[in-house]
Symmetry: D3
Subunit: 69 residues, 6 copies
């Protein structure tokens, strides 16, 4: 499946914190930066996400803000 | 100002494409990856965004999805 | 690629309206309902979206609201 | 109240899973497809959402992505 | 229609800027603050939005960030 | 840091409800209106959010819908 989301960043899961409905996923990108995602527990399970798994962070362009110092 | 958004990635603007209301901004992150953002023209102007300017991509964790191959 | 977004609805593109940065895509789902999406022109081109093309509408669960009469 | 969100899909609540802050709501649309939503518990209560209740899934067009096989 | 979005702020439209696909709407809230929204042109027309019209800004809680100085 | 998000509304935290992953924050704006936000617990801690703290609600324009009666 090819998706319209313009930002697909390759990385590896480094931490999964589960709540009752949502989980927080920390990914480490190839350049070393970390990305934090909040998705449902059901998705964590269906994708088999846990520390060490290769995964992508996916973000729609309209959800990216820009900031300057 | 310190913001709750968990993802603040340092980079540099490499391209700005203006429409009537929104602009598309391409940022190159320090690791070389590119991030695409769509924001209003008014923000592009008030932040002085143009190619070469240092800037951050900012994304709320709930707007980050995860994918696996 | 398998994505964490919980809502992936099968349909067919029925209309594409292009702007300078974004396009509006109308999809007709298998049950006959229509879904409207706004994505960047670059994605419209890279996915080859035009009337008649089979496609999915994809929505992260945290972006779905609920309403009652 | 009439809202700007372009996607308002009629269905019925089939499942509510409550967490400490958010709940996951599963709706079944008229065509049989399921839609998953994550909203706050307060909204679940103020709207009286529980299995069997008629409800709409509401999504802003800019939050809909498109994918192709 | 009663919606799950937790933030429904009463105001008045003060400006509409149309693009090819999206419009930018500026609302003035009752306390004097301004809120900017970007929605599709089709919604602007179907809701009859123009300067002087009473309207609400509606925001899902998961789309609200918090910042401190 | 100056951010592209067009909506930055000054207020004060009046309530924080923590879950396992996310917290719900209620802010009271200067005009008396309340804004509800859902952010991660980590952000609540790193920003030191608790009742009485001055804070801003920040919303990207593309996440603001408009409604009329």
């Amino acid at each position: 499946m090819k998706i319209s989301a313009r930002n697909v960043l390759k990385g590896k899961v480094v931490k999964v914190t589960k709540g009752a409905v949502n989980s927080e996923i920390v990914l480490e990108l190839q350049g070393g930066a970390q990305i934090v995602s909040v998705i449902t527990n059901t998705s964590v399970e269906s994708l088999g996400l846990k520390a060490g798994v290769d995964a992508y962070a996916v973000v729609k362009a309209s959800n990216v803000m820009v900031a300057v110092d």
